[in-house]
């Protein structure tokens, strides 16, 4: 059993990581420096970062609200809502991109409205952020809901009887109890946002130096035989995600040992 699990993890997770690390570093420091020196590549990283930050903020705030509603409130259609939340996991990102085009693209339902305001959605940052948010909706919610369920409502009720307002209760009782689940959800959300290609490719147009994210650059790099730079960018993204997840995991262990 252990052997099978180890082999599975090694073959599917570790091997690609080792591969990308090898190719990323093989080309040497010169190429790495050169890669980060290119304005287009720096802009791509910047764009990826901006999209990630906005996505994480939006999904954290609304994810926690949805999770609270799903665990604390009763209303008709709650089960449907709970199922809908998982939809982005089931739908291919390419389809998500197409849906965005249908809504905001030429002749789309909302195109006229935003065009009148002078706001460009498609082939610009707004649509890229929008599809990335959509795709990473489930992560915070799915991490926080079980923690809230396990926590129960008694501590919150106790806080109310002691005079704490709803807001005080959330920040002083609920949030500290869900913080690890929430942070993990945020990390997964961030990693997903960084890695998104399909949906972003469709809505952005992948204009070099303008709407090209780091992952879109990687696609172009291989098209244009800039393999070495492609590997370096890929390695950077992979490392960022890994550090994020490992960081949270160790932080969590360390802190739970301390508190309890």
């Amino acid at each position: 059993m252990v052997g099978v699990a180890l082999l599975y993890v090694a073959a599917l997770l570790v091997a690609p990581l080792v591969g990308i690390t090898y190719y990323g570093l093989k080309s040497g420091l010169g190429t790495i420096g050169d890669t980060f020196g290119q304005t287009d590549i720096r802009h791509a990283f910047y764009l990826t970062f901006v999209i990630m930050v906005i996505t994480v903020i939006v999904n954290t705030v609304f994810g926690v609200i949805v999770a609270l509603v799903l665990t604390r409130d009763h209303f008709p259609g709650k089960r449907l809502m709970s199922a809908l939340v998982d939809l982005p996991l089931a739908v291919s990102p390419v389809i998500v991109g197409l849906m965005a085009i249908l809504l905001f693209g030429r002749g789309g339902w909302f195109e006229a409205f935003f065009a009148a305001q002078g706001i460009q959605i498609i082939f610009a940052l707004p649509s890229m952020v929008l599809v990335t948010i959509f795709i990473s909706i489930p992560f915070v919610i799915r991490e926080v809901v079980p923690v809230l369920e396990e926590l129960g409502t008694e501590e919150e009720q106790a806080a109310w009887t002691l005079g704490a307002s709803r807001l005080q209760t959330f920040f002083r009782v609920t949030l500290p109890n869900i913080r690890w689940g929430l942070l993990y959800g945020i990390a997964l959300s961030a990693a997903r946002a960084i890695g998104e290609v399909g949906a972003v490719l469709i809505v952005s147009g992948a204009l070099q130096g303008q709407t090209e994210t780091a992952t879109l650059y990687i696609l172009r790099a291989f098209d244009q035989y800039q393999d070495a730079q492609g590997y370096v960018v890929a390695l950077t993204l992979a490392l960022f995600s890994i550090v994020l997840l490992i960081g949270i995991e160790t932080f969590k262990r360390h802190s739970s040992r301390e508190a309890r």
Partner: protein, 386 residues
Amino acid sequence: MAGSIEVRGLSKAFGTFKAVNDVSFAAAEGTITALLGPSGSGKSTVLRMIAGLEQPDSGSVIVAGEELTDASVQDRRLGFVFQHYALFRHMTVRKNVAFGLSVRRVDKDAQTKRVDELLELVGLAPFANRYPDQLSGGQRQRVALARALAPSPQVLLLDEPFGALDARVRQELRNWLDELHRELGVTSLFVTHDQEEALELANEVVVMNHGKVEQVGTAEEIYNQPATPFVAAFVGSSNTLRGVVWERYVHFGRSAVAGAHHIADGREAVAYIRPHDIEITAEAGAMSFPISVERRTDLGWAAKLHLRLEDGQGLVAQLPNDEIEDIRPGQRLFANFRNPKVFVEEADTPDIAGDQPDLPPVASQNGAGPEVPSGRTLTGDGSKRS
């Protein structure tokens, strides 16, 4: 600082289930009142409505003369203690106790002083910097109590405060709460399914069943003058004997018990007889019942005798060992019943006795403890007779 509690015509339904149905009672300033009843009787819902954690469908809640029915939980300023403590697990004992003061922005020095005072009072000063999961159940419940008392509430509401503790700690905490109440005098209302707990701690007991109040009275009244068959059966573990009324007596075969003066001749009646209200004699007296002894269970200072009447109905007597030393299974003797509580037989007249007084408290709320008196299962035989 204390206030009275009054509820008037409180009702609450969950869907089609009427959890609380027109409940009214009052608890005077500075007293301890128990809400006693089996699980599902609505007692916890009443408590939660007083606290504002549930909204009643109708009726009103009045604390210290102030109408609170529409006030928010926060504005009611009542202390509430939960069965499972509900301590803030990420805070130390000190922070837990200080919570009610800090959310109301009491100044820091006053907070520290009040928290120290309370930790001293509940005997947990050395544990101030521990986390809840480093404490025992009894200690946690004392923290919960200190936390509820910190903002100096006029009224303390306790929901099955000892329900999650083992028997020994439960008794200890009960004595301690009694002393604490004498010291502080804060009006307290607690919910329990344990009749012994209610009788021991409370000045007044409100007995509830199926969402309704069955009786309100002192422990003595509830025990000795039960107003309804339910109270007779639930408070104190009673034997149930079914018979027919004739000239103010309930007749079982050739014997009879008194106390049926309020019931017309010919009606079926139920007599509730407590296990220690049975006297066993070798000689027949004027009103004694011939019985056979089927089984004897020794409990140390006392013993339980499983008896059978001539008409087939069974019952259990519990008597001090020195009174019944020679009695053995198989013997044919006579029994006299003291203080039978007689009620007209109705469709829903309960057979079930309350918690067995000397058994360790069990999770079961209905008195269906691990050891079921054989008498109970045989009440069916009695009704076949007629």
